[in-house]
Symmetry: C2
């Protein structure tokens, strides 16, 4: 099975307590693609400028990612510069140059359209809806968003959410979207907007999936996956997109979408997120093995299972 | 098996978004005793003033708690007044009157001394050490502390920690005690101070137990228990002490202290903490049944177990 992902491809300049990197490959679609590539065929849709070289594209191609959906246009690639403080939970954005991303109009190669799975990374909900329209037969659609769209583009976002099956956001975004400080209540309110399931990411404390009543056989109780108490998180950038890649990738590898598959997908999401943050940028996601992934999956199971 | 707990018995005035209660029974030793009473015989050591009536003491006695270690002295009982904001994660202390607690000198009835388990709730580490001295044969000693002792009584605290087997503190306290913002590194540093195991409580995100290498057969990987995504937390007061009561109580009910017992104890600690916060003060802890406790244990298992 294959997944189409639409989102940002970017260059990031990063400073964390562990070091500095200038203009390394980043962007939500990049992290997602590399992460999901360990589980399924991935087709990426994005836009880059003239500073995006074949070497950059090779990072994705080497992982078997289909990059024909990346448009190369005049101008410079989306650039982001951020700095993480001592505890790594908060990031200060120092610079955001949308560049070619400002006028992004996703274009899907014709043979992308038969993909069974679609992930709408964090972009303008109008664009998310347009891509969703192009793939009406998708078996499962995942989506992400952020405070900016929730605050200033709420009506458009609500239209998108009606046709997203699984929304993946963090605690703050869920509370903001629902207008409720209680996480379980916020979850119920978000599910009432359309999604059949909602994944709320808690950073170093893992993530919880909430199910809409009557969806996915096997009960509607929430399920929580842990995050590894990582000895040294070197760079949190891309953790959420890598989680989404592992989550969607695992689902695509299974074909059927049951509650049990979604629970395992939560673990694989956490596993891929935990790898991503161990090194700067996408470094760690470029050369993992299935053995390393299964090994960490087992560590996560041991971390939470009683027997 | 029986547990001795030494700590505060208090009256609390509480304000949360769900209501107000004036001068209800509280204190770490009270929450701990009620919680642990569902698993083991509990003997409490504390001090109260003349405003502490037989009706107050009956709350503990009704749960079978041995209250002979509570000294009744001239003066007023420890009083605390606090207010929780909208998200319930932060509390503002409005008033603290130590009253008779300021001169607390724990006195253990002679037949308490044969208890196999001891819990040193959050009091002056000098007093914790003195009680520890009185029970040199204890099979397992649990302890708690807080920022005040970590900051201003560090040497005394370090002496106590040398003879505490399991320390139970929260994220902030662990990082402060270790002087390290990475939780796994902080855990290792705290374990180097003496405890064989360290339970770090993450509030609504559950708790993690870290083991010192070579202690407790069955590996030294950390283990995480969830917290229930509670629909409505009405009053967070006493959550940590109720966790400790469930944790120590379950261990005492098992007799032997293995890694597997400690893992289950983490779940029972979370279970009891989750009950405590559902109602104001100790209300919910006064009338639970084993069926309710086992039911929630199973819910927690379902929340985290894959198969």
């Amino acid at each position: 099975m294959s997944i189409v992902v639409v989102g940002s491809v970017a260059f990031d300049s990063l400073r964390t307590p562990y070091g500095v990197r200038e203009r390394v490959l980043g962007g939500a679609a990049t992290y997602f693609s590399l992460s999901a590539s360990y589980f399924a065929e991935v087709r990426v849709v994005g836009v880059v400028g003239r500073d995006f070289t074949p070497e950059h594209e090779a990072v994705m191609k080497n992982r078997g990612v289909d990059t024909r959906g990346i448009q190369h246009v005049e101008g410079k690639t989306f650039f982001w510069k951020g700095e993480y403080g001592e505890n790594l939970n908060e990031v200060k954005t120092l610079q955001t140059d949308l560049n070619v991303f400002a006028a992004f109009q996703p274009q899907l190669p014709a043979d992308y359209l038969n993909s069974e799975f679609l992930f709408l990374a964090n972009i303008d909900p109008l664009l998310q809806s347009r891509v969703r329209d192009a793939m009406p037969q998708a078996k499962l659609v995942g989506g992400d968003t952020m405070n900016y769209w929730i605050n200033d583009h709420r009506q458009n976002l609500r239209q998108t959410l009606k046709r997203v099956d699984v929304l993946l956001i963090n605690d703050t975004e869920a509370k903001l979207l629902a207008g409720d400080n209680s996480l379980p209540r916020a979850a119920r309110k978000v599910l009432a907007l359309g999604p059949k399931a909602l994944v709320i990411k808690h950073g170093e404390y893992g993530a919880t999936i909430f199910f809409r009543d009557g969806q996915f056989a096997g009960g509607h109780h929430p399920f929580r996956a842990p995050a590894l108490p990582l000895e040294e998180v070197r760079d949190p950038t891309g953790a959420g997109d890598s989680f989404a890649g592992g989550f969607m990738g695992y689902i695509a590898s299974q074909g059927e979408v049951t509650r049990n598959v979604l629970k395992h997908a939560m673990f694989y999401g956490s596993v891929m997120g935990s790898f991503a943050v161990e090194q700067f940028g996408t470094e760690r996601l470029q050369s993992l093995t299935r053995e390393e992934i299964e090994g960490r999956f087992n560590t996560f199971r041991e971390l939470t299972h009683l027997d």
